[in-house]
């Protein structure tokens, strides 16, 4: 009896214990732990209600393109790295192993440049897709606003996929923000990727206005058309390449800069697309990268092979090449951009597309289409501007060789034009063999990042040779 009584007592106490517990839970208000969103973040849906915030979202894409992506003009960008990979630059810094392995043709799938290019590119593609989805679903933006934003976003998506397909070969084409789809995505063949790039660019071209900013810092219809011409050229669609290039050349919106020393200034009339420097007074990262004042070079200089390829009297040598000497040795550096520190007002911006490229595209397409006189004429326009004598032959082989040589000089250390031209015309082995004895044909395509293959086995196999 006594024992039962004790159990009864315990059970009473337990009930009190539990009852108090439940009462207190109801007292502790759930509202207490509700928090406001942080002051530095906007919820996704709000961004696409207002054109100002959509513009801010796109601004971030362009500034990333300028600062962090594979297209930056700094030491982590294509111009610099692929300049070493091809025959433009000599590497002097033995501590930078990752870049050195590009210079010495020993790139491994674990190279961090390989993965950072890949990741930064897809991060920008995500941002572009996010804008495409957000703007498409927006109920408050006007149709004019929507057209403009979508046109830019499709352009960016195509522009970056184009760089990737040329660097890595077969790649996936990412057109959604849905990570559950993107994490297991498979590769497409190169022609398939080109088809998608061209579709995006055609769509973009139909949406974009002819002009939007005075300094051409934001993609417009002509920028898109010019780029489409390049894509068709790479895809060997000579007709279409010529058509798009001619459209830009005959629009009379842009003109070659007659003063060769002013080509890379921000107001140059031949600039189709350049990137805003961000802060007023800042100049290009290219200038910071290449210029040095005493030898030996701290990390890079132009190759002797490249310097030797200039014809006598080429005014580009005088204006676009810098020279340093220690008395016995001489070194040369790219001096297209001349201001490597802040100035009162910005004077130079990184240029992504300028008019001479359209002359080259048209000329190359014309040679392949056997319009040899037109091609010769277009090449001579560029040569004349550089103070060089006109070519008088119309032999297609001669013209093509002359065009490659001319383009190498015109576009050195600009967005890896040289490397991509060598690769797409299958001349890399022939041209690089003397400089890089270990060069192998499979090195035309970079390896896919090792980490990426670990995380998505659908991207296997690794590119040949790695």
């Amino acid at each position: 009896m006594k024992y039962n009584h004790r159990i009864y007592q315990i059970s009473i106490y337990l009930k009190i214990f539990v009852a108090i517990q439940f009462n207190l839970v109801f007292v502790s208000c759930e509202d207490f732990i509700a928090v406001e969103p942080p002051n530095n973040q906007l919820t996704g849906s709000i961004v696409f209600e207002d054109p100002t915030t959509v513009r801010a979202a796109l601004s971030s894409v362009y500034s990333d393109l300028r600062d962090n992506s594979l297209l930056t003009g700094g030491t982590s960008g294509l111009s610099y790295i692929m300049g070493h990979y091809a025959d433009e630059l000599t590497f002097h810094n033995s501590y930078q192993i990752e870049t050195k392995s590009f210079y010495e043709n020993g790139v491994l799938p674990t190279n961090s440049i390989i993965s950072s290019w890949w990741n930064s590119a897809f991060s920008l593609i995500y941002s572009a897709n996010s804008v495409i989805e957000g703007v498409s679903n927006s109920k408050t933006l006007t149709s004019t606003e929507k057209k403009e934003f979508l046109g830019e976003a499709y352009f960016i998506r195509a522009y970056i996929h184009f760089q990737l397909v040329n660097l890595y070969g077969k790649i996936p084409y990412i057109d959604t923000t849905d990570y559950t789809k993107n994490k297991g995505v498979s590769k497409l063949s190169e022609p398939e990727v080109y088809t998608k790039i061209i579709a995006d660019l055609n769509l973009s071209k139909s949406l974009l206005k002819e002009t939007n900013t005075t300094l051409n810092t934001i993609p417009n219809k002509w920028i898109c058309t010019a780029f489409l011409a390049r894509v068709h050229l790479y895809a060997k669609n000579w007709d279409l390449a010529l058509k798009e290039a001619t459209a830009v050349l005959s629009a009379n919106t842009y003109a070659l800069n007659t003063d060769i020393s002013n080509v890379f200034l921000k107001n140059s009339p031949e600039t189709l697309w350049q990137l805003d420097t961000g802060n007023n007074g800042s100049n290009t990262v290219e200038a910071l990268t290449y210029i040095f004042v005493s030898g030996p070079p701290p990390h890079t200089s132009l190759t002797n092979d490249f310097i030797a390829s200039f014809e006598d009297g080429d005014s580009r040598f005088e204006h676009w090449i810098g020279k340093v000497s220690d008395g016995t040795n001489e070194w040369y550096y790219p001096y297209k951009y001349k201001i490597n520190s802040a100035s009162g007002e910005t004077k130079e911006c990184s240029i992504f597309i300028r008019l001479p490229e359209l002359y080259f595209i048209a000329a190359e397409a014309n040679i392949h289409l056997n319009h040899l006189v037109n091609a010769q004429h277009q090449l001579n326009i560029i040569r004349k501007r550089a103070n060089l004598p006109s070519l008088d032959s119309t032999d297609p082989t001669f013209l093509l060789e002359a065009l490659y040589k001319e383009k190498r000089i015109e576009f050195f250390t600009e967005q890896a034009h040289r490397w991509f031209d060598l690769k797409r015309t299958n001349r890399a082995l022939e041209k690089l063999n003397s400089l890089k004895p270990n060069y192998k044909e499979t090195e035309q395509i970079l390896p896919l990042p090792a980490s990426e293959l670990l995380l998505n086995t659908n991207l296997l196999p690794q590119n040949e040779g790695y």
């Binding site: 207490f32 601004s59 005493s294 293959l453």
Partner: protein, 1013 residues
């Protein structure tokens, strides 16, 4: 301890007595009759027996000293006994002190029993919301007291715990002042590397251990890139004790924050009595004790030349300045001595005053600490701290107040890059550091002078305030309400300068190219915890209950700025002088937390104890649907030494306890706002517009990580506790893993936050033995040894093969593994490293061929300490040991033969066909096969070697100076050593950091005086 033995004897006597008296009681009438015949002046004494809470106690035996008669108290505690007027009552009851009370002709004697506190009882453990004696605790709580903490010249309290506590793995990340200590309590529970910190509570106030620093400012000097560790802001000499809560029983009351264990830090407080003053002055000298045996210039040059020969290069390239004649080939500098060979000076001055009455006590203590570095240049860390405490208890004992306030200011001024890497890599014949005119020597752009790093400074200025007020009000004798109020505020201002003088003058850049990165972070948090404590007896069961609520709010802010383009380098620290200034980031976050917690403890006769704890938690870190969750634990203990059976048959067993616990705790260390779909304001501009970018991949549906803990433990005290042995076995299973699941780059991000149904198990054995080897009035020697054997294992991971973790984790293996190539030695013909081609495709490829699993968890670790007191001397020595593997020197040495110095071990490389050696031939890097073989080697099991070590962690010798005269005080002289000796086979710089690129923990010898009067 002798007392304990006596009490055991007494208890035995009592037991016998009990049996006899029960027998007597049944024959009481007969006896009474007998007695009354003998003496007629017996009187009847009556009274009530209670405990200290005035609760009646029944079944207490009341006997008469020297006689056999006796009686027992009834349910109301009332007794009645006949005795002579001059007899003495003997009152005894298990668990209480036996009392002898002279009757002195009184007829009514009320007796209040006093609990028998043995030494174990006297050790009270702080379990956070409640205190419990070590004897009756059901949980796994380890205490480290001030004796082991206060004299050490350390800046981080965790350092004092190294090697002293079972189940707690503490690793110092670097020897640079301000660097952090990583701590894992019973292994890694979360797959996320950042989700494994324990909860720190300082004087009842949660203290965030997340640094306010930024990787851009501190990343290259303080490893981990997290900046100064906030725990450095707690002055070690102010610490009274640190308790570590490990199992479910102890941690479940902390609910969602208890999964990784809890570290409770309690600071010193005032003492009643004479006001005492205390001065403590310490000076120490620290240096790097280990240096690697690097190649001398002739050896180095021979290596380089051989490398080019091996590569088939006859003409030394123009950029190989070290051997093409550009640099002198006769210079031979010990760069280790140049770059980290200085002696660091440690100095500390501490003063305190404490005193008061029984009701009001106070203490004020302050400390000034200065520490320089072993790097060249004038760098120092100065820390000032102030602690004040005040306690008051009202006259009626109802209200008591306990106030403490701790303020610390920490100025850490360092160079911005650790020079250890360059010291090891730099060719021994590299040029002079300085020109004759004292300027940096750039040797015509042939090198990047390592001392350019001295031009670039890192400075951090931190403040920390921890305030706490506890109000304790007794409503009734056994019912009290407690209010715990706390406030913490921390701030950290960091600056990293990158003046143009760090750049090669060949760039021709001046101060317009100088830049500075500023980072300012602050964190404020408050906490309110009302609690109700209610203790009562239910028959012979003592019940302690506790109910409480927590409201906590924490706000953090951070502002990062990048300034560049100065008119002069002298103005580099001034943001206003910059021609370009942009914001790297401005973030603000708010964390709110709300909980209800309770405890019910039942103790029957001091033998059987059950402890129930629970908590319901709500946290703002989760989406609206997932904010609340319940956690709880049950613990039980059986004190078998209180059983008659054991007392009778195992008299040498002075204490024995078996305890067990089971419960669920949680983990919410995922960061704030991770469930929101947002765009974040960026730092860069375009066309005058500040960009915004998508913050993360969006997933609002994640929930708490759960951690189920089971523990069973045995504590044994033998021969009056002169040998005290504790062991336990635990199994913790952590599920619902809250991880950033790595994603391929094609998703645009590297991770998405989600719960994963993976289960991680940590299980292990922990042993501790404390012995008193010799104890007499002149000489005392005690030892303690502890050992932890832990195993971490990934038990489940649904669809691991198809997941993004497929190549990082393996079911049945630890989380802390690496998958590497299987090294097959050097090919005797080609002289190159070879590896197992697992998939036999003719090439060594990272995915398929990295199939060898190496576990980097320690197999076991522990400590061994001795304490000797002889006359006025006392000596303390602690050895710490760890059995583990680690990346050796070659993992990061660069390819032997390239323009990097190597250890002399490379001399045994392959030279000629047929050579049998473990190191391949030299290459300058131009031989791509050899270079690739080295790269694969650095990712193979060959570079994972034994990094076990035994380290003489601390030694201290104290001498109590006899003070003559009237001055009532004492003077203590002490000499202290840290990291004095390390026994290891590891070939890198330090086996604790397992790295050859960060500064090793310093060997410090310090001397000091402590005066108290």
């Amino acid at each position: 301890m002798k007392k304990n033995h006596k009490s055991l004897g007494r208890t035995l006597i009592f037991c016998t007595f009990y049996i006899i008296t029960t027998f007597c009681y049944s024959n009481a009438n007969y006896n009474n009759c007998n007695l009354s015949l003998q003496d007629s002046i017996k009187i009847i004494i009556q009274g009530k027996i209670t405990d200290q809470f005035k609760n009646p106690i029944h079944n207490v035996h009341i006997g008469i000293s020297g006689r056999k008669s006796g009686t027992m108290s009834n349910q109301e505690g009332i007794y009645s006994i006949k005795a002579f007027y001059n007899d003495t009552l003997r009152v005894s009851y298990l668990g209480y002190k036996t009392q002898l009370i002279a009757i002195n002709n009184r007829k009514k004697i009320n007796i209040q029993l006093i609990e028998d506190i043995t030494e174990l009882d006297a050790i009270t453990l702080n379990a956070g919301y409640y205190k419990v004696s070590e004897k009756v605790t059901t949980g796994s709580i380890v205490k480290v007291s001030k004796e082991h903490i206060e004299f050490q010249p350390v800046s981080n309290p965790l350092s004092a715990l190294q090697g002293r506590v079972t189940g707690v793995e503490i690793v110092q990340s670097s020897g640079v002042p301000g660097s952090e200590f990583s701590i894992k309590i019973r292994g890694q529970n979360s797959i996320r590397q950042t989700g494994n910190s324990p909860l720190y509570i300082v004087n009842g106030v949660p203290y965030s251990s997340n640094s306010l620093g930024d990787v851009q400012t501190s990343g290259s000097i303080l490893p981990g890139g997290k900046g100064s560790n906030p725990l450095n802001n707690i002055n070690t000499s102010d610490i009274e004790r640190i308790e570590i809560l490990k199992d479910a029983d102890a941690t479940a009351i902390y609910g969602s924050r208890g999964a990784n264990g809890v570290v409770l830090i309690t600071t010193k407080s005032g003492t009643a009595g004479k006001t005492t003053y205390n001065f403590n002055i310490t000076t120490g000298f620290g240096h790097v004790s280990n240096r690697l045996p690097l190649l001398s210039t002739p050896q180095y040059i021979a290596m380089r030349q051989e490398a080019y020969r091996n590569d088939g290069v006859t003409e030394i390239p123009s950029n190989a300045y070290d051997i093409n004649g550009t640099w002198s080939q006769s210079r031979d500098t010990n760069w280790q001595k140049e770059f980290f060979g200085k002696t660091a000076i440690f100095s500390s001055v501490q003063s305190s005053i404490r005193g008061g009455t029984e009701r009001t006590k106070f203490m004020i203590s302050n400390n000034l600490n200065r520490q320089t570095t072993v790097f060249p240049g004038e760098f120092e860390n100065i820390k000032f701290s102030l602690l004040s405490t005040l306690q008051h208890r009202t006259k009626d004992d109802r209200l008591s107040l306990n106030f403490s306030m701790n303020y610390t200011k920490d100025n850490n001024n360092l160079l911005s890059t650790d020079l250890v890497r360059e010291a090891l890599y730099l060719p021994p014949n590299a040029p002079e550091l300085y020109n004759e005119d004292g300027t940096l020597n750039w040797a015509n752009s042939t090198w990047n002078n390592p001392l350019r790093q001295l031009e670039s400074e890192y400075s951090a200025s931190g403040n920390s305030l921890i305030g706490n007020l506890t109000i304790d009000y007794k409503l009734l004798e056994n019912l009290k309400i407690i209010g715990n109020l706390g406030y913490t505020e921390s701030s950290l201002a960091e600056l990293r300068t990158i003046p143009s003088t760090t750049l090669n003058p060949a760039y021709g850049l001046g101060s317009e190219a100088s830049s500075a990165i500023h980072n300012a972070g602050s964190r404020k948090s408050w906490i309110i915890e009302p609690q109700l404590h209610w203790n009562f007896n239910l028959n012979d069961v003592k019940i302690a209950t506790l109910f409480g609520l927590t409201f906590q709010d924490q706000r953090s802010e951070r502002l990062g700025q990048y300034a560049s383009g100065f008119s002069s380098n002298a103005l580099i620290e001034n943001i206003a002088a910059a021609s370009n200034l942009y914001i790297l980031g401005n973030t603000e976050s708010n964390y709110k937390y709300n909980a209800f917690f309770s405890r019910l403890n039942m103790n029957k006769n001091g033998k059987y104890i059950i402890n129930l704890t629970g908590r319901r938690d709500g946290s703002s870190r989760f989406g609206e649907e997932k904010r609340f969750s319940n956690f709880g634990a049950i613990g039980a203990a059986w004190i078998l030494s209180e059983e008659k059976l054991f007392k009778r048959h195992l008299p040498f067993l002075s204490f024995g306890k078996i305890r067990a616990s089971y419960g669920v705790t949680g983990n919410d260390q995922i960061g704030d706002y991770q469930y929101l779909d947002t765009y974040t304001v960026g730092s860069s501009q375009y066309d005058g517009v500040t960009g915004i970018h998508p913050t993360r991949l969006y997933n609002p549906n994640y929930n708490w990580e759960k951690n189920k803990k089971i523990e069973i433990a045995l504590d044994l005290g033998l021969y009056n506790d002169r040998i005290f042995f504790s062991t336990n076995f635990y199994t913790n299973k952590s599920s619902n893993q809250l991880i950033g699941i790595p994603l391929p780059g094609t998703t645009g991000f590297n991770i998405v936050t989600a719960n994963l149904d993976a289960i991680i198990e940590n299980k292990g054995w922990e042993f501790a033995i404390n012995t008193t080897n010799i104890s007499n009035s002149k000489f005392k020697w005690s030892s303690s040894i502890n050992l932890s054997i832990a195993k971490n294992e990934l038990l489940e991971f649904p669809e691991l093969e198809g997941s993004s973790y497929a190549n990082e984790l393996v079911i049945g293996e630890s989380l802390n593994i690496v998958k590497v190539y299987d090294f097959n030695g050097v090919d005797q013909e080609s002289g190159l490293y070879t590896f197992t081609d697992v998939n036999s495709d003719g090439a060594i490829t990272p995915v398929e061929d990295k199939q060898t699993i190496v576990n980097l968890d320690p197999k076991y670790y522990g400590g061994f300490s001795n304490h000797i007191t002889w006359k006025k001397f006392s000596l303390d020595a602690l050895f710490q040991f760890t059995k583990q593997l680690g990346y050796d020197f070659y993992a990061s040495s660069g390819v032997p033969g390239s323009q990097r110095n190597q250890t002399t071990a490379v001399l045994s490389r392959w030279q000629n066909p047929g050579d049998e050696t473990s190191l391949q031939k030299y290459t300058s890097g131009l031989n791509s096969d050899a270079f690739e073989a080295y790269t694969n080697y650095s990712e193979s099991d060959a570079v994972l070697t034994d990094a076990s070590y035994i380290r003489l962690k601390t030694v201290s010798l104290n001498y109590n100076l006899p003070i003559s005269g009237t001055l009532d005080g004492k003077c203590q002289l002490f000499i202290q050593g840290q990291n004095l000796l390390t026994l290891t086979k590891y070939n890198g710089l330090d086996p604790e950091t397992r790295s050859s690129s960060v500064l090793p923990p310093l060997k410090v010898i310090s001397i000091g005086t402590k005066i108290t009067f």
